[in-house]
Symmetry: C2
Subunit: 420 residues, 2 copies
């Protein structure tokens, strides 16, 4: 098949006729397929049922985990996260079930009390954050809730465009940046060592500039040759910048998405300030659930083994989607995508101006995609070209159909644009 951009109008219209027929056949099937959210599937959730034991002793080192107290989490759970993230136990707080809450609450804290003695953000006008795009919609939602202006910068195959970042951080009203450094949501790329170093070396004008390092997919490889992410805390100290990064992660996509354990990793000074807030906000997070987790895994190698079981379920799902993208869109010059080594998403870029139309077409044939634009601040994809595909939840046979419908839709939308 030739590139669409090299075809004549007549050829394109003939092609469209064939596609339309195919599309109508799919439509007639009355399907209802959902590739919209990065939810684990039932088989993945089943992997962790072993932790729900009635017969474990809910005490640890004399701590009755059922009772109040131990604000920073039980020792075994903190230790597990410390080893997973490669930081010291004292720099970990084990949190609630969603790391989103840790991020939202941290921004709240910056509003109410400011960062380590700096002016509280609530007293500052025109706060800005840097947003590598496409990115995670829920990061943008937090910033929008607090009325923080979001500035888009491109994300490349090795991470954010650092020239753009370095330029922006000269502005003292630029207060932070959200990053998903490994298997980035949605592009699937992992920041290169060089980019991580450049981030760690930033010298922002704002002393209270904070990078929210959302390491959501830190151990979520699809096979044995997963990406390696440089541990930013190993580098930050070289630049005397330990306080600049707040790292979060969770077991949401390791154990139970709605009932996992999250963790925050941060410098001594940041941990101290976070603990001060936590002391007002809660008496303790769910330590019984922390204990279930640390007992179920024991150590990092058990978590790694466990993640291989997830990969075995997820990989065929990614493969079926990628196979259709490759077979049906490859070489047409109308779409590009990244083949990720882990994470939860495939990011598909269609022709500029076509993503919304693709979404409509998919919807018309019973396939729900993440709302087009959601991967950009304010829901506005300036190029109207990015589509986030979430293959984790539906069964393989449904994905097979959904991916075909998606490909047909991408082609129809492209032809509609090309023939005008």
């Amino acid at each position: 098949m030739a590139e669409y951009t090299n075809m004549s109008k007549e050829e394109l219209l003939r092609e469209k006729e064939l596609l339309q027929k195919k599309y109508d056949e799919f439509k007639a099937m009355g399907l209802s397929l959902d590739m919209s959210r990065g939810k684990p599937c039932k088989e993945q959730l089943d992997l962790s049922m072993g932790m729900l034991r009635a017969d474990i002793d809910y005490t640890e080192n004399g701590i009755d985990t059922r009772n109040y107290g131990i604000l920073d989490g039980i020792p075994s759970c903190k230790k597990l996260f410390a080893e997973l993230l490669g930081v010291d136990v004292k720099n970990i707080i084990a949190g609630p079930n969603a790391s989103l809450t840790l991020m939202f609450d941290y921004i709240t804290q910056c509003f109410a009390h400011g960062v380590l003695g700096e002016t509280p953000w609530r007293e500052i006008k025109n706060l800005k954050f840097i947003c590598p795009v496409p990115g995670y919609d829920r990061h943008f939602t937090i910033l929008e809730y607090f009325d923080i202006e979001m500035i888009n910068i491109p994300i490349n195959s090795d991470g954010p465009d650092m020239n753009a970042v370095r330029e922006l951080v000269k502005d003292p009203s630029v207060k932070g940046m959200f990053c998903v450094p490994k298997y980035s949501n949605p592009t699937g790329i992992t920041y290169s060592d060089e980019i991580v170093r450049e981030i760690a070396a930033l010298k922002p004008a704002a002393k209270d500039f904070r990078i929210i390092w959302d390491n959501a997919y830190f151990i979520h490889d699809l096979d044995d040759n997963g990406d390696e992410l440089l541990n930013i805390f190993d580098v930050l100290s070289e630049y005397n910048n330990e306080d600049m990064v707040i790292e979060v992660c969770s077991t949401s996509k390791i154990t139970f998405s709605g009932a996992g354990v999250s963790a925050i990793a941060a410098s001594d000074a940041n941990i101290k300030q976070i603990m001060k807030r936590l002391n007002c906000q809660t008496i303790s997070y769910d330590k019984m659930n922390q204990l279930r987790h640390s007992r179920f895994f024991g150590d990092v190698s058990a978590v790694k083994e466990h993640m291989k079981k997830h990969a075995a379920i997820l990989k065929p799902k990614f493969e079926i989607v990628l196979k259709h993208l490759e077979n049906e869109l490859g070489g047409l010059g109308i779409a590009s995508w990244v083949n990720p080594n882990g994470g939860y998403f495939i990011s598909l870029d269609v022709m500029n101006g076509c993503a919304k139309r693709v979404g409509e077409l998919c919807k018309g044939a019973g396939v729900t995609l993440t709302p087009v634009g959601a991967t950009y601040p304010y829901g506005k994809d300036p190029n109207n070209s990015n589509i986030r595909i979430a293959p984790s939840f539906p069964p393989v046979d449904e994905l097979d159909l959904a991916a075909q419908i998606l490909c047909v839709s991408v082609k129809i939308a492209a032809i509609e644009k090309l023939v005008g």
Copy 2:
């Protein structure tokens, strides 16, 4: 024994000598007893172990509780809380393990976005809250964190001094009030129907005045003749004031203090605004834990039966402390206390100026009390007279000793004051 205030200096000094001897004997025992926090004891926590079953089906009405989603909580858990609090299911959100978090986060929301379209609190100077005292230290901590000025008003045997409240709410910078309406922390009293009606009828100058109705002990009776609290939501509508009250509660002292489920009850408009924030703050709270709770109990009557088991453990603990107070301090004119029908505390008022000294003496003999002053904003008891006794955690034999030491300490401190 005569009232201390009627005794001569010589009599008092003789009495003190005897007390000092007794005190020294206790001291020599090298005890370490803790009556400082309202923590359930192990036997209470054991009552709920039945909910930790590996064999329950974690789905409800097609909802896989292990996965993301259902921001307001699963239907069965919301229904249980709705019945417990006497409100409509649509006015309930099932929350995280600590109701403290619901309260802190609600104040956060008022800061960031204001109340139902009013000016965000972060833009308002000199915010004030009304604090019935003595009260719950963690309420004060929240207000202090947000730099909200706390104004003490007395709490009487039937609830807050409403004349003082009505006077204060004329000031538009007075934005709210924290209440523990049943088995008030620490005084143990329950607001009378009349007081609840007067609260519901308030017409504060501030449209965004909010009463945080912390119904922490809503079902926590010590015997069958528990106090009855009028359901404020039944009355608010009469005064067109449904939006004024945010009620919270939790199962912290029903199931597991560190791993229960909390709930918020509020008007349609407030629920809507809270949900908007929750949508930014989390993906869902722990629905597996919600399901454990609703399956374990099923309905309100099961919760009531369960609470009788708590009462059977707690009542002897309250009785032993009250027995010593009665026998050893009764009639001396140096202390007063309330005999509560439920809740977690006995509030003891010693002679003005003596509470800190009592705390010191207790500590010297190995008994830890809640820090004196903690029951007041900023940790400052203006009369230096209130002591919160928390009898739930220690075993009865330890309480027996601790209460004796407390009584001796109260007497010594009183004599020290009287002889000057």
